[in-house]
């Protein structure tokens, strides 16, 4: 016998969960608190925001002044380890398509750095009546109790607005708008765009019954993760508390290879490679839950081939990896001449949106289905890498102090004066819209390539079509209209057909969902309405994968609600699973 072997754990857990982000974290929290013995496998390192956050560091505490790196794509203080490329873990795309895949390898996954914009899907998101979008097998009314519980468990701010497809939650008070945002509200009102207070999972008040988490102290750095657990990260709010029950064991740096099944097709656990000793292991459990992220979970299933599952586990429909959807995204930025030489005060606020424009437009007269919301940002923020382009980019756009136009650029004392003058005048607006679920947008196993662990990698095939392109055009028109009514100056380039109106490439918005869609028909879906595999009853998926058709709303709050619902279902069905 050679020295290569697979080590099987002796212990059989009730449940093994793959991934520690929003979906995996919530499932672990519910199950561990219900007394179920759970093992969680995370492909990255241990991460606790209290210990490992870069919160309150100044730019000069980074030698690169906060610039992004390959190890931290969104900046040197951002709490996402990883990014668009991971060493030794490639992915590919088919020749004429594009998809960018953002991965964070760490406890809590991408929830450590996310925007904390927390939106419920509405009744028409689950049951669209536009004649184009596919319907979910569940309704808003069925998910509402879970959204309510998520609101209370995690905490969210917002305001009750009574909008039909923008359901109100159980809200803490919202943070007030910043100065440029008041101008945005003024401009939006004149442009006929309704703007409401933001909705975010940041504690603006004490969270009832929770002593571990403290209210926000307004540094505006949610993307760095929060040392006092003032915002939602799966690490701080779900996994670490779940470990305190004594019912959750965690193995980090465990890269899952496949779901292990027996001769009857019942899942018996998962196999993984430990990044620490590079040995192969099998973890045994009575129930397997995948929460590795929509694409990674699809990859695990497609790689789990056996005599029962010749096409990959839970893939008799052939739909694992299909209907991949990312949100559409386009943006514009500008500056307000009214704010030149503005008075200084601390305008950090929270690290999520203070104001927000929901989609309220009737589509009947539009050339695209569904719609988008707009997120706004501004403030006198901490100068970081790239700040140097501020004055030279703007100082030829408005008259100088002497009332005369001057050529852009410059140097010396007058340039220094321009930096002071233009600081804090800028704002941004970003549209986030529905990417339509299509069979032809998918990820699959690339037959030619494995990663450094020998695991076959994903190959993406994704194209926007006119539904999304026309939506981006409408976004730009709306942004321009608002900016015009604000009396502001747009600093974005020209958008048009040639650049698809600034529509970001698929994957860039990092809202990818839909690879293991739920449905009542096992031929047309991978999971049933409990996120349970049609083909393999003790296998569940709790990340963005179960999404039938995404909404313009960011997916995290729905992932949390559905994962909680699935975990409670497993607890109810304990006897069936012999837990």
């Amino acid at each position: 016998m050679g020295d290569f072997q697979i080590k099987e754990s002796a212990k059989v857990y009730d449940v093994v969960i793959v991934g520690s982000g929003a979906g995996g974290g919530m499932a672990a929290y519910v199950l561990a608190n219900a007394g179920v013995k759970v093992l969680m496998l995370e492909a990255g390192a241990y991460f606790d925001p209290r210990l490992h956050s870069s919160q309150l560091k100044y730019s000069y505490q980074s030698p690169r002044r906060g610039a992004g790196t390959k190890e931290r794509a969104f900046g040197d203080f951002d709490a996402a380890f990883g990014g668009w490329e991971l060493d030794g873990e490639p992915y590919t795309t088919t020749s004429d398509t594009k998809f960018d895949w953002f991965r964070s390898r760490m406890l809590g996954g991408r929830t450590n750095h996310w925007g904390r914009i927390s939106l419920r899907f509405g009744p028409k998101d689950f049951q669209p009546d536009d004649g184009v979008s596919e319907r979910w097998p569940i309704t808003y009314e069925e998910v509402k109790p879970y959204y309510d519980k998520v609101d209370k468990l995690i905490g969210i701010f917002g305001t009750k607005e009574g909008l039909e497809n923008e359901p109100d939650g159980i809200f803490m008070k919202p943070p007030k708008p910043r100065l440029a945002e008041l101008y945005i509200m003024k401009g939006a009102k004149a442009a006929g765009v309704k703007v409401i207070p933001g909705r975010g999972s940041v504690l603006t008040e004490p969270l009832e019954g929770n002593e571990d988490r403290k209210p926000c102290f307004y540094c505006g750095q949610c993307n760095r993760s929060c040392k006092i657990y003032g915002d939602f990260s799966s690490s701080s709010c779900l996994v670490i508390p779940a470990m305190k029950t004594g019912n959750l064991d965690l193995i980090t740096n465990a890269m899952v290879r496949e779901v292990v099944t027996d001769k009857n097709g019942v899942a018996t656990g998962v196999s993984y490679v430990s990044k620490e000793d590079m040995q192969e292991y099998t973890a045994k459990a009575k129930v397997v839950i995948l929460g590795a992220s929509s694409c990674e979970s699809a990859r695990i299933l497609l790689n789990s081939k056996s005599t029962v599952y010749t096409n990959g586990c839970a893939n008799s429909s052939g739909l694992v990896g299909r209907y991949l959807q990312d949100s559409t995204g386009a943006s514009q930025s500008g500056f307000l001449p009214q704010l030149l030489d503005r008075k200084r005060y601390n305008e950090d606020g929270t690290g999520t949106i203070h104001i927000y424009a929901p989609w309220l437009t009737d589509n009947k007269k539009l050339d695209f289905p569904r719609g988008y919301h707009i997120e706004f940002g501004s403030g006198m923020g901490m100068p970081g890498y790239g700040f140097g382009s501020l004055a030279p980019d703007l100082n030829d756009r408005v008259p100088g102090r002497d009332g005369k136009m001057k050529p852009g650029g410059g140097y010396g004392k007058s340039l220094k004066d321009d930096y002071r003058r233009f600081y804090g005048t800028q704002f941004g607006m970003a549209g986030r819209g529905v990417g339509m679920a299509r069979y032809d947008n998918y990820c699959e196993i690339d037959p030619d390539k494995v990663d450094k662990y020998g695991i076959p990698v994903l190959r993406f095939h994704y194209k926007w079509n006119n539904d999304e392109i026309n939506q981006a055009k409408h976004m730009q028109e709306t942004f321009s209209h608002i900016i015009d009514k604000m009396g502001a100056v747009s600093t974005s380039g020209e958008y048009g057909e040639h650049n698809m109106w600034g529509l970001e490439a698929p994957g860039r918005i990092i809202h990818e969902v839909g690879t293991t869609r739920m449905g009542n028909d096992a031929k047309k879906s991978v999971l049933n309405k409990w996120c349970q595999a049609h083909d393999c009853k003790n296998l569940f998926v709790v990340d963005g994968g179960p999404t039938v058709q995404q909404s313009d709303k960011n997916a995290t709050w729905t992932i949390l609600a559905l994962s909680m619902r699935t975990a409670e279902y497993i607890v109810e069905q304990k006897q069936k699973f012999n837990i």
Binding site: L56, G409, G410, K416
Partner: protein, 210 residues
């Protein structure tokens, strides 16, 4: 849990002690698992620590290039009534680091510095850093305003855009620069919206909420 307790809770992590001591003196001892060799580095991945150590050990610019960057830096961001100069903020050290971290800067900066020296040599018989101040500004005037620059100066314009942006980034991300620009955040506080008098000045009272 009130705000003061919140602030105390972050004090416990010890990273921000200096900032917080005025507000309240944390009496609690550091909790378990907080004993990191260097608390300043607790947020770094091992691969990042290694990478920065390696970059810091390398040297990219020659002494002549560094000296030129210092002269250029102080022309771009000179001392004025508000604050010090680029060299006071050690901007050249930042530029030396960032070109190693982002190698895409290396050829444009090295080549641009040489372009500048050659121009000055032809005109003034000296490298840029050793030219008289009026000679230095004369050549900068030809590359610092893209819309006015002659086409034969284009390479200089492109170079100057880059070095100006890096110098100003290095300056305004420094302590001196942040004080100059008037950044007042990065500290525990209570956000209660834009001060009322400022909202009034801008005539935006009807839009404030919360």
């Amino acid at each position: 849990m009130n705000r003061r307790e919140s602030i105390k809770a972050i004090g416990i992590t010890s990273l921000t002690a200096g900032l917080l001591l005025d507000a309240c003196k944390p009496k609690d001892k550091p909790e378990e698992n907080t004993t990191v060799a260097d608390p300043e580095m607790a947020d770094r991945q091992p691969v990042e620590i290694e990478k920065d150590k390696k970059l810091n050990a390398e040297k990219f610019f020659t002494e002549h290039e560094m000296a030129t960057i210092v002269v250029l830096g102080d022309l771009i961001i000179p001392k004025d009534d508000h604050s010090g100069s680029a060299s006071d903020a050690k901007v050249a050290d930042f530029i030396e680091f960032i070109v190693k971290d982002q190698p895409g800067h290396q050829v444009p900066l090295r080549g641009g510095l040489r372009w500048l020296d050659v121009q000055c040599q032809k005109r003034y018989n000296n490298g840029f850093k050793d030219c008289k101040p009026e000679e230095q500004t004369a050549i900068l005037d030809e590359i610092a305003y893209p819309s006015l620059a002659k086409s034969e100066m284009k390479a200089g314009v492109v170079f100057f855009n880059r070095i100006r942006s890096l110098v100003a980034t290095g300056f305004y991300t420094s302590k001196i620069g942040m004080e100059d620009i008037g950044y007042m955040g990065n500290q525990p506080n209570k956000w209660e919206g834009v001060p009322k008098d400022i909202i009034k000045e801008h005539g935006l009272e009807e839009f404030d909420f919360g």
